[in-house]
């Protein structure tokens, strides 16, 4: 068993303005990954402003005081780099991987949009990116079968007012109502050095990065009192199952089962991670063996279970199966519920446990096999747990999970009377 999931050096510092800087040197390839986590996500959005954190992420690519509209992309790609950004309920992250000689360019670009976005933000840019995001919503959620499952599951799992109640993509009505002043205020409030972590991994040194960070980010003032998102850590068990059935233009019945578990990073969630692999990863998983292979009621390619790694409230565990032709939704749901229930009553065998841990080990090392994967991991642990070095704990924690802990966790958080079930039925074709 490895002692550490992160056998590379980690050095950290904090600038006077509060920006935390994390560096992990690795000279293997002539590339560096630059990764920023801003501690703001859709959990911070008040009612009526859903989708704003994500729309804002788009605006960050549209120019800042010293960078013209669309120039950010052009400069990074023109340097040979890859770049993107993502928003989720917890946080917003921005990242680029560039040939090592362009490290300074990447830091300059990131600093310029951290410290100088607001003066460059125009109504025209907002209107254009609002249209782009609405098209993203159509493409990813509205125009594909089952595309809205995540949008439906969240409000069933989390009550109104809870920071995870609404989905990050937001509602069309709120996006339509978005005004420029709100976004200017959003940047001033959350895009501050003392609300961010900058991680650099790859062909560079801590001394070089610390000096460049001071040079480019050092002059950006701290924000100070950054407003916290609503506290969602306690979600009272409802004591009654919730079920929603949707009739839609889908090719086969599908069932999702979801539970609130524990926050990512907690010992309880490590157990859930291993449990999810036992339940739904691969052909040796319980769902595959029982429902795809055994009873043969589920389509083999569409069986799965996973935890959604959210850290600020009990994170969801989601399991899903899709019916084989001729199998009804009720039979499918009964089968899925039975397999879920058995996690508490039928002990996980040593070979099931070893299989799950082996798959998780490979997944971990796959994430660690690139500088960008490592940079994102270090940013996460610095942002959410205050110390990037705690990344090393995750893999050993998974490997220490026992069958007894899985049964206990199943009894504790996967109880049938606190379960969300979402069922899709195929509408009758005329």
């Amino acid at each position: 068993m490895p002692d550490s999931g992160y056998p590379w050096p980690i050095e950290t510092t904090r600038l006077d303005n509060g920006l935390r800087v994390v560096v992990s040197e690795d000279r293997t390839a002539p590339a560096v990954a630059v990764n920023l986590w801003y501690d703001v996500g859709s959990r911070h959005e008040p009612q009526g402003q859903t989708g704003f954190a994500h729309l804002f992420e788009h605006l960050m690519f549209e120019g800042s005081v010293n960078v013209a509209k669309t120039e950010h992309m052009k400069l990074i790609q023109g340097a040979g780099g890859s770049l993107n950004a993502t928003t989720n309920p917890d946080r917003t992250n921005y990242f680029e991987t560039v040939p090592a000689e362009h490290l300074e360019l990447a830091l300059w670009l990131e600093a310029d949009r951290m410290g100088g976005l607001v003066p460059a933000l125009t109504q025209e840019t907002l209107d254009n990116q609002r249209d782009v995001v609405k098209n993203e919503r159509r493409q990813r959620y509205e125009n594909v079968p089952y595309g809205d499952a995540w949008l439906r599951l969240l409000p069933l799992l989390y009550p109104p007012g809870h920071p995870y109640h609404h989905a990050t993509i937001g509602s069309m009505a709120d996006l339509n109502a978005a005004d420029l002043a709100t976004f200017q205020a959003f940047h001033r409030t959350y895009y501050a050095p003392d609300n961010a972590v900058l991680t650099v991994v790859g062909d560079t040194s801590a001394a070089e990065v610390f000096a460049l960070a001071e040079k480019y980010f050092g002059g950006i003032p701290a924000r100070g009192d950054i407003p916290a998102a609503p506290d969602g850590r306690t979600v009272p068990a409802t004591g009654r199952p919730v079920a929603e059935t949707v009739t839609a233009d889908v090719p086969a019945p599908r069932v999702y089962v979801a539970h609130r578990t524990h926050p990512f990073g907690s010992p309880g969630y490590d157990v859930i991670t291993v449990l999810a692999a036992v339940l739904g990863s691969g052909r040796g998983s319980r769902l595959y063996q029982r429902l795809a292979d055994g009873e043969r009621i589920a389509q083999p390619d569409l069986v799965g279970a996973y935890g959604v790694d959210l850290a600020h409230a009990p994170a969801p565990l989601i399991a899903t199966v899709t019916a084989r032709p001729g199998v009804g939704a009720q039979r499918l749901a009964d089968g899925l519920h039975a397999v879920m229930d058995e996690l508490a009553t039928v002990p996980v065998t040593p070979s099931e446990l070893d299989r799950a841990k082996a798959l998780l080990s490979t997944a971990w090392w796959r994430q660690m096999s690139t500088v960008d994967g490592r940079a994102d991991t270090l940013s996460r642990y610095a942002t959410q747990f205050g110390d990037p070095a705690r990344a090393a704990e995750r893999l050993p924690a998974w490997l220490a999970v026992t069958a007894e802990q899985i049964a206990e966790a199943a009894a504790e958080v996967l109880a049938a009377d606190d379960r969300v079930t979402l069922t899709y039925l195929a509408e009758e074709k005329p």
Binding site: T28, A29, P30, A31, V65, N66, M73, K74, L75, Q77, G78, A79, G80, G81, S82, T97, V98, P99, A100, H102, L103, E104, L105, G116, N128, Q129, D131, V132, K134, N135, R138, Q139, R140, N143, D203, K215, G219, I220, P251, A252, G282, R283, G284, D293, Q299, P300, D301, L302, R324, P325, S351, R355, A358, L359, L360, S361, T362, W365, M368, S369
Partner: protein
């Protein structure tokens, strides 16, 4: 404000190097490996000459069904025991198929690579192919394709491919087949395809820390019990361009977006213009900063994204643009996309655009080729297209050396806006009249 206004220039360039490549003949097959010192994870990938092009016309999807059937039990163990053995090593059997090759791979911590390759070979060389299992897998594959074809895209892709290459040819039909072709396969088809193409040794590609790997042992495991040599491949296909554009309308009632697939045939992979063509495609539709994405997404806001590129296999190629646009703007989006392709064909590229495209493509060789999986894929390219060990270094030089005249000439020669097939998958009742009014071409209902 205390930001630094001056954009920094680059530091001293680091030398580019692709990992050192080892080629070795072992036990009747070839091993091609890349050394990744210190990497904990390793990938082994068995490359077989069993791509979609080897499937007979009318049997599309054979490779996909066989890929799934490999895991339904072997000469040594049943399906459940096989799954536990493979996944107990921390890997899954990953199968992939393109026009030129069939690939089966494993990805594991390096100390488990030997055991993983033994299991890989067990499934590829000695699958049970029990008739009842094959029938079930075939039915599941047909269902899986039906699920996939319920999404926007596959029907439009198929319409484009058939129009470009002719549905009477294997390469004019979908690479993975369609729900009907798969449903029509029988057990004998699968067994014959296996015996014809999966017993030949092929090439084992390995990416990992070679100091901790025994390549001879891996080769011996991968090629045990194999026989038969390589089979000749036919040469490039001469595909005719169509005379005049046409619009193919694929109905998707109620769709909130229209799926666009625009394309025409283009040269095969070994064509001498490969590099300038790639760069012309990059300027037009490859990078986020491309002309198409800039106009259709960043200026107009019609879409979440639009891409275009030249893609090629050993025998043929195609230029294609794909996007999903809001239904209400289908006609203007189509018109503007065709306009941008025409402008690029007639006016070529600028030095400023090309500078971004060439350094992006060149830099991606450093940035994207890091993981064992990515390196293994790069090695597979060397094998499939008979390229030398220093191919990636040479490619980098060729990309950086390409000038405006060469790339503009490639755009002029290889883009054919007047011969485009324009496939639109969307709500036909809503968009038909507007599409007709564009005057872009006659409308054919698919």
């Amino acid at each position: 404000m205390t930001l630094i206004a001056t954009r920094p220039g680059p530091g001293p360039a680091r030398p580019y190097r692709f990992p050192s490549v080892v080629r070795r003949a072992v036990a009747g097959g070839q091993v091609v490996a890349a050394h990744l010192p210190g990497q904990n994870l390793a990938v082994a990938l068995l490359l077989l000459d069993a791509g979609a092009e080897r499937e007979p016309v009318g049997k599309e999807g054979l490779g996909g069904v066989l890929a799934k059937a490999l895991e339904e039990g072997t000469a040594q163990r049943d399906a459940a025991a096989y799954a536990l053995a493979v996944e107990g090593l921390g890997t899954e059997l990953v199968t992939a198929l393109d026009w030129d090759s069939f690939q089966v791979s494993v990805q594991v911590p390096v100390d488990r690579l030997g055991a993983a390759v033994e299991l890989l070979a067990e499934a590829v060389r000695t699958p049970r192919l029990d008739p009842a299992d094959v029938v079930r897998v075939r039915d599941d594959e047909a269902t899986a394709l039906r699920m996939d074809w319920a999404n926007p895209g596959p029907r439009a892709d198929a319409a484009l491919r058939a129009d470009l290459f002719g549905a009477e040819n294997r390469w004019g039909r979908p690479m993975y087949g369609d729900p009907e072709s798969v449903a029509g396969l029988d057990v004998e088809d699968v067994r014959v395809f296996h015996s014809e193409w999966f017993i030949r040794p092929g090439t084992l590609v390995v990416a990992g820390d070679l100091d901790r790997v025994d390549l001879d042992a891996l080769g011996a495991a991968a090629f045990a019990g194999t026989g038969g040599g390589p089979v000749d491949r036919a040469g490039p296909i001469d595909v005719r361009l169509r005379e005049g554009r046409r619009i193919i309308l694929v109905d998707r009632p109620g769709s909130v977006q229209s799926t666009l697939r625009l394309g025409h045939p283009s040269p095969h992979r070994a064509h001498p213009d490969h590099v300038p063509m790639t760069l012309a495609g990059t300027v037009l539709g490859g990078a986020f900063t491309s002309r198409l994405n800039h106009l259709i997404r960043e200026v107009r806001g019609y879409t979440y994204g639009i891409r275009g590129d030249f893609a090629s296999s050993r025998r043929f190629g195609r230029f294609a643009v794909s996007s999903g646009v809001q239904t209400a703007v289908t006609a203007p989006a189509l018109t503007e996309a065709v306009g941008e392709i025409s402008r690029t064909q007639s006016g070529g590229v600028t030095e400023e655009e090309l500078a971004v495209a060439r350094s992006w493509r060149a830099g991606q060789l450093s940035v994207e080729l890091q993981s064992p999986r990515a390196i293994a894929a790069a090695l597979a390219t060397l094998v499939v297209h008979d390229l030398p060990d220093d191919y990636h270094a040479r490619l980098r030089e060729a990309l950086l050396a390409a000038d405006v005249d060469q790339v503009s000439a490639a755009a002029a020669t290889h883009l054919h806006p007047e011969s485009l097939t324009l496939v639109v998958e969307g709500d036909a009742a809503v968009i038909r009249d507007e599409l007709a009014a564009t005057g872009l071409g006659e409308i054919v209902e698919s």
